[in-house]
Subunit: 378 residues, 2 copies
């Protein structure tokens, strides 16, 4: 093993106990030798995405959060309400590592040429378990960042960029011609606006606050609607009629918004056409790709008959488009890393700070638009 | 025109007025000469399906129902609440005829051989506007009933039988291997049980009352669950795990049931498999083909990511399977008319009785399991 790699490193773990308690901790794990095709990455930047929070915090009640352990090895516990325990039954008593994606320096490499070529390079990868000092990865999983890009700049190359790119791709694959997006001022939403403007895809943005409207208008977004405003539904119907958007991507999940979008799509599609008792026949779909609101999704009856809604997972999309499709998208991310796919972080914190009760509550509550970055070297 | 056909006949009409009022009436309409390929059917039996009630009553508040007109030409009015008016905007001020399907005797026919061949025959058809004394139809729309079948026996040959047949067909087309059905003791549900037993398709039935359980068990149904019982969710998960059912057809629409089915499908699919943070990857879908409950459909977060739900319309299915597929299904209905596809009617009423306020409230409230038949010759 290279001298620059210690024998052990810290790894953030989440554990749901059968007693109904969530436990978060930093475990010391052995760092083994890399196989021929593997590299060891010293993690320097790994974002906290909403999808990470689902695994990290799950259905725990954070108002019951308690801190224990030491300053170096903090341990947090919180109660999990009964329905949450039912939903998380399959992970009970399994200590799970967290962190979908991240970037850092290759500090050790296996014997293969491909692995050796990466030694010393700043790389980025998707693969889980990034909330740790070190991460061992197969060379096929990592991408070298452009020479002038830092780990921080390359930490969020996958989840948000590929998800944003997947929306217009899905739109084309499924025969729609324009998009609706909610929580639209998020990092992902900003990327989506840049992509749609560049590619000429009409995009109807839905946000909740005036300052979020401004962010998107400053990017050049044409349709920006505020769901808290009085005229929201009629503005939405107008925008959907104008763009012909019949595909939505909803990050909120719970509550009325997905149903409002389907209702507005139906109203827009029926506008000006003869009455049909079953409503418009053109397919209208809203994908729910996030659950910022964990209350039930509510779909009212006024959506006609040609509606559907369902879960959306980037993984399924990436499987569908095949290796060539994936390579095309990844190359676009690399070439537009500092423009289209630039991420903004609210704060950069260490692994121990990630387990500070107040910090955790803050980054857990600010899921939309604001994102924290963990830097294990701090 | 044949002497047996009068110059005018009554036709039941539904009208949503821009003033926010529903008006139901019997209009006198001219009965024109049939074209060469047309026949005139004296309607003798036409069922009141839930899909008819959607058009007939729509979103009107039946507690405000008022009777006017004469004994021969009753007129009913009711207020329509504001959200209902929004949903029905496209039909405002259009007087619409009602009645999806029906059967009766061909009393006049056009000059073509095909039309002449039907003269005097008892026929059945799908095509709307059956709540009337007479209905003019193209020969391509009508099917002659078997010699020994009455109009009453042949009145419901399309909506319920074809919908019931479409469920296992859709299951096969979309790669599922077993079904879940709600409001399962309905006429349609009973047909579906007979079809599934005959064809070896595992079917999980969900009902709400013990007497409905009995109806289905007496038919030989293996899985009959009562959604009002305490152990419902765990029984449902067991039945879904045992059958592998990942496709549901829900007649209720509103409330929690569709979400409960998706939650149980997810729990059944995850059972015994390793924990995946995104849940099971096998697609789970619930089609909503009815809205017995007009409150919003509620989908909770515990459904994983590979879920979807959406509207289901027989028309779209029939378009998808093409002329050959449709003919195959229709032939099966004809050959099993008195067995698999036998309908049961709670009451047989006249056109004027259909516009009696108390009768209307009764058949509107008893949408599940009980069905009324209109006989315009009474």
């Amino acid at each position: 093993m290279s001298q620059s790699v210690p024998a052990k490193g810290r790894q953030l773990r989440t554990l749901v106990k059968s007693s109904g308690e969530l436990e978060l901790s930093l475990e010391d794990v052995d760092i083994r030798e890399p196989n021929d095709d593997e590299v060891i990455v010293r993690v320097e930047a790994t974002p906290i995405n909403p999808s990470d929070l689902g695994l990290l915090v799950g259905a725990a009640d954070l108002s019951t959060l308690k801190a224990a352990g030491s300053a170096d090895r903090p341990v947090l516990t919180a109660d999990i309400p009964e329905p949450g325990m039912r939903a998380m039954q399959a992970r009970v008593d399994q200590s799970l590592a967290v962190g979908n994606e991240g970037a850092g320096t290759v500090v050790a490499a296996g014997k293969s040429d491909a692995a050796q070529a990466l030694l010393g390079k700043t790389v980025t990868a998707l693969g889980g378990e990034f909330y740790a000092d070190y991460r061992i990865l197969n060379v096929a999983q990592v991408m070298a960042l452009p020479e002038d890009a830092t780990a921080r700049e390359g930490a969020s190359c996958f989840v948000n960029p590929l998800t944003a790119l997947s929306f217009p791709e899905t739109m084309r694959m499924e025969g729609h011609k324009a998009l609706v997006h909610t929580a639209a001022a998020s990092n992902l939403g900003q990327m989506l606006n840049k992509i749609c403007i560049a590619d000429g895809v009409p995009l109807v943005n839905i946000v909740r606050k005036p300052e979020q409207e401004k962010i998107l208008r400053d990017l050049g977004a044409k349709y920006v609607l505020n769901s808290s405003s009085d005229g929201f539904m009629s503005d939405l119907i107008d925008a959907l009629a104008e763009t012909g958007a019949t595909l939505g991507f909803d990050a909120i999940g719970g509550g009325r918004l997905a149903g409002q979008i389907l209702t507005a799509m139906e109203a827009a599609a029926s506008r000006g056409s003869e009455y049909s008792r079953y409503g418009s026949a053109s397919p209208k779909h809203v994908y729910i790709y996030g659950r910022l609101d964990v209350s039930p999704t509510m779909i009212p009856p006024g959506v006609g008959m040609a509606w559907s809604t369902g879960g959306y997972l980037l993984t399924y999309f990436l499987q569908k488009i095949g290796a060539e499709g994936r390579a095309k998208l990844r190359n676009r991310v690399m070439s537009e890393l500092k423009t289209t796919f630039a991420s903004h972080y609210t704060d950069e914190i260490s692994l121990t700070e990630a387990l500070d009760p107040e910090t955790l509550k803050t980054y857990n509550a600010k899921r939309t638009g604001e994102k924290f970055l963990i830097n294990p070297t701090l």
